[in-house]
Amino acid sequence: MISAVIPFALALFGINLILNLYRLLKGPDITDRILALDTLNINAIAVIVLAGIQMDTTLIFEAALLIALMGFVGTVAMTKYLVRGDVIE
């Protein structure tokens, strides 16, 4: 049952990635692009976890953890640059 469900979930997350890429390319303002990048990170984590279930290994979950961490740091750095004009004051 799980092996039948995982391609469906992977297809839905692929649609999500395409929608986020559309917003990243089109977005009228730069905050839209930051939001699209943040959502892209979150969906990439889900895709990595689904691939881990598919391949029956937990080895690639460190990559998901790294993507979560670096995505948060990148979002905070970009918004802080927009608000303050500087990242580290």
């Binding site: 979930a9 939001l35 979002t75």
Partner: protein, 131 residues
Amino acid sequence: MDIPLWLEALIAALLITGAVVATLGSLGLARMPDFYMRLHGPTKASTLGVGCTMLASLVYFSVSGEGISVQEILITVFLFATAPVSAHMMARAALHRRVPCSYRTRDLPWEEMDNPPPLRQSSSSSGASQR
């Protein structure tokens, strides 16, 4: 490797729920007319969807593998802690840049930012700190 049937059904239901909810969030990101409306989709729906997927993975690897797998709990806790913070900072950056909002929005926020309502307190210092 012998997963009972009800656990398998639970994992499958969690996977489908997570994928559908995350798709709703990304659809909101792509289709909403305004940045402040667009912020609602991914920060709630995508987080819940990825949370459901993480829960399914946690149940799967805890049942089939050896012991409880800790990495999913770590990722979930980190994601749930950082998603509101990044959403708040993005909304603050958009307000700071005065990103235009939809014409149906009532009470534009920067009118209130430019002309703050007068304080109701007594006038201890008269006009020194006022613009």
